[in-house]
Each structure stands twice: as C-alpha cells, then as structure tokens.
Symmetry: C2
Subunit: 293 residues, 2 copies
Amino acid sequence: MKAIRIKDHQVRQGDTVDLTSWPTSIDKVYGSKDHYRKILAAHVERLSELQQLQYAANQNAVLLIFQGMDSAGKDGAIRHVMSGVNPQGCQVFSFKHPSATELQHDFLWRTTRNLPERGRIGIFNRSYYEEVLIVRVHRDILRSENIPDRPRHDGHLWQERFRSILDLERHLHHNGTQIVKIFLHLSKEEQRKRFLDRIDQPDKNWKFSQDDIKERLYWEQYRTAYEDCLSATSTDHAPWYVVPADDKKNARLIVSQIVVDTLEALGMRYPELSADRLQELRAIREGLVAEGG
Amino acid sequence: MKAIRIKDHQVRQGDTVDLTSWPTSIDKVYGSKDHYRKILAAHVERLSELQQLQYAANQNAVLLIFQGMDSAGKDGAIRHVMSGVNPQGCQVFSFKHPSATELQHDFLWRTTRNLPERGRIGIFNRSYYEEVLIVRVHRDILRSENIPDRPRHDGHLWQERFRSILDLERHLHHNGTQIVKIFLHLSKEEQRKRFLDRIDQPDKNWKFSQDDIKERLYWEQYRTAYEDCLSATSTDHAPWYVVPADDKKNARLIVSQIVVDTLEALGMRYPELSADRLQELRAIREGLVAEGG
C-alpha cells in the first residue's frame, strides 16, 4: 500500500519513453475493497465540488483524453471516476470509426468539433491520438479511407502530425483549456486474462469477436507507436500520464487523483461580487422578506 | 486597361505591409461594361469547370477568406464570382456576432467547425481574422464577452493569436486545404460615397444605422490592425492578396482571377481508371447494350 503521487506517472516534456521500463502493475494504493471504495468516493466527491466551481468560474475548460489498448479499462475508469459529476458540466465522446463526412476533413476536425466549452469537462474516450496510433500501425487505413497522403509527406508524416497536435494543444492551452492525457498501461498477459473472462460473461461476450483478438498480433507495433507518441507530445501544459492498468481499482484511484489534482491546480475561485452586486442582492432580500409580511 | 497579374496583389511571406503604399484604385483591367461582363463570364465558367474537377479529384479543399471594411464589396464579390459554381461543391459562411456557445470556446473553434470538406470550396465572409481585427480595435469585446484574457497574455496576446492562426493554416495546408485570403482594400472616401448611396436606396437603407457609421471613427486603428495582420500571416502556402476595391467591377475581376489561378495551380486531374476498372466498365456496357436487344 502506498500513497498516490501523480508526478510518478507523468511523462516529463522531452523524456524519451521506453514502455518496458514503465510498470503495468505496482504496489496497491488501497488496502482492501472497502478502503478502495472509501478513497474513490472521496475523490469523486471532491471532483464534483471542483466541477461546480469550474462551472461557476467559467474560465477554464478541461479536456481528459483516455487512450489504451482494448480492455485496458478506459470505459470503466470514465464510468467510476466521473459518475459523481453533474452531467451538465461534463460530456463524454467516444471516437470509433470515423464517418464519411469526418474522413473528408483534416484529421483533427472531428475531435475539435467536440471540444469542451469553458466551465466544462470534456472526456475523449480515444481521441485524435488514434491518428498517430492505429493509423500508424495499420498504414493502409490512411489510403483506403481517402485521407490525403501525398508523396511529399511520406517521410515525415508522423512528425508532421505530432506537430499539428502540439500546435493545437498549445493553442488550446493559451485559450483556457487544460488538457490531461491518460494512457492506461496494460500488460499483454492481463489483456489475455480479461479477454478470457469476457468470453464467459453473457453481458460481454455478445460483442466479442475475432476482430478484438487480431490487434493482439500488433502488440509490439502499438508499443512503438505509443512510445513515439508519448515522447513527442507530453508537455508541461498538456502532460501524458502512464497509469499502470493491470489492477483496475488501482488505476481508477490514480486516474481520479490525477483529475482532482489537475482541477485543484487551476486555482479557480467563485466569481467575487462587486459592492454594487452585493447591494443589489441585499435589496432583493429585503423585497422578498417584506413580501412574506 | 491592363492585364491581371495576381502576383502584383500578393503579400509576400515576411513582407511588412504599409497599406498607404498599396493602392485602393488602379488602372482598370476592363475597357467597358460589356468587356467586364465578358471577362467575368469567362472566369466564372472556368471556375465552374475547375470546381467539378476538384469535386471529382477529391484531394483538396479550398478555403477563400474575405476580409475588408464595411461596404468594401465582400458580399458582391462572393455573389458575382461564385454564382456559376454548383452549390453542392461550394458553401459560404458569414461570421457575424458569435453565439453564446461559440464564445464559450477558443477563438478558432466556430470557424474550424465550418471548414470545407475535401473536394469543396468553402468561403468565409469574415473569418477568424476578426479575432485580431475588430477584437483588437475594440479591446473590450475580449472581456465583455468572457473570452479568457489572463494576465500572462496581455503583452503578447496578438502575437499569440497570430501564431495560433499560422499553426492552424500550416496544419490545414499539410492536410490538403488550400487557403487564399483576400483583403478588399477600400479608401475611406469611397466608403463615404457608398454609405451615402445606401441611405438613398430603399433596398439597402432599411438595415443602415448609426452602428455602421461608428466604425469609421476607428479607420486608422483598423488600418494598423490590418497591416500587422497581413504582415504576420501571409505565407507562401496561404497568401494574402490586397485587392484594390474602390472599383467594384475591377475588384471582382481580380478576385475571380485569383480564385481561378489558385485552383489551376493545384494541378488536379480526374481520377485515372485502372485496367481492372476499365474492364469493369466495358463489361457493364456490354450488359446494357445486350439488354437493349
């Protein structure tokens, strides 16, 4: 059992990431199932307070990006960590296969349309990072889906995409959006176990198929793509966190701590009332009190 | 009467623009009203062909941005130049006062949502450039409309916005969007005449008010804002053109020439049929012919 220090999981700007040296499993931050529930509940309650404050302050948007291999626990983390938050202040977008219209635009367009407003938390379950992950592992997607792939780009395509992403995130940072990126780091062995579990569970196996298995063949290619991506795009203002994901509960506690700490660090305050506004409120109170006789 | 060479109107990357040395009025490129109509018709016809080709090739989007002081002729230029183009391949967006939702997002968001798809021409009648023009001249808009304006930005806000714009346009360029930016350069005296005309025309005066006049008071501030903007954001891949606008017909011919030349320069071709596809079409023809007996 150890305390959560989110810095331990942050990829520092400029670091070269070797994922084999980042653990998928660590000493648990909770002692028992009960203890886990208690910590999570505390995090969720604090998160809910902070989101109300964020909504009132209306200065910052927060964008949480979740990435990870299939079964890494993205959906579960989002559900458990964000469930206590008022849905009016929080919106989740899952990015699966792009639509025909989306494919007619540049690779950042479909996610940009769904960026969170100020005062709100936006959650991307997968994101524009897929454009340098799955698209890199399955290079043919680029052509078959008609994304422009002109000769002058071939050598530098991924560097160019990293730059587009860095530019976008800098722009958003300058304009009030705090971005946090979470990579749920799962071992191949733990994925095997989770897949075996799914096959035996009637509420899960109906959507399980050979398609889910085939990406396992590309495990090493994904690792390399993630390493390049994490190395190139983790910045002080929009950091990547590599969260050990072999234990789901542990991962959720770390994720919720990351979100709480990020919101705390924004230093938000409720809008201060001017003397005029205070006077106005006093007058309103007097009127309402008088009305009651 | 002189030939149109669009290079004469292009702001070269790195140039410092002094608008007093860019004419608002030049020798006419047409000899008579009839001659004007002939040239314009030829441009529009060529433009229509090129847009069909663009649609079929489905490789590039084209974004035309129109900026200029009130009455500079943006609407008229768009109407006359683009009227021959199939509306399916061409969409105009006019950006006026932003909505509450738009103001809750970063300053590039509302225009990005409306970027043209590949195969299409998108026209912005005013654009994200207003964010470094009217917002700069009327600095209070920034605060009153709740766009984040945190202390750390104050000294560098416009430079930061220019950078965001340059980054966006580079990204779009790399992903297949050709951007062309047209500043309709009007003299203050010609604006005065056009306003006087409007007041006497029943189809125009109903929407004319003191509001339209008051921006004339800021003429010099706008000039400075435009000069900084044109100097900072004209690039080889997304150039600004300063089009003399005191003569509307002349301006339309120059604008249409710019659009035609831009599309020509993309070097588009109809998709080539592979041997397999040719074989397929031959088989289809044989079937259809046989069906007819």
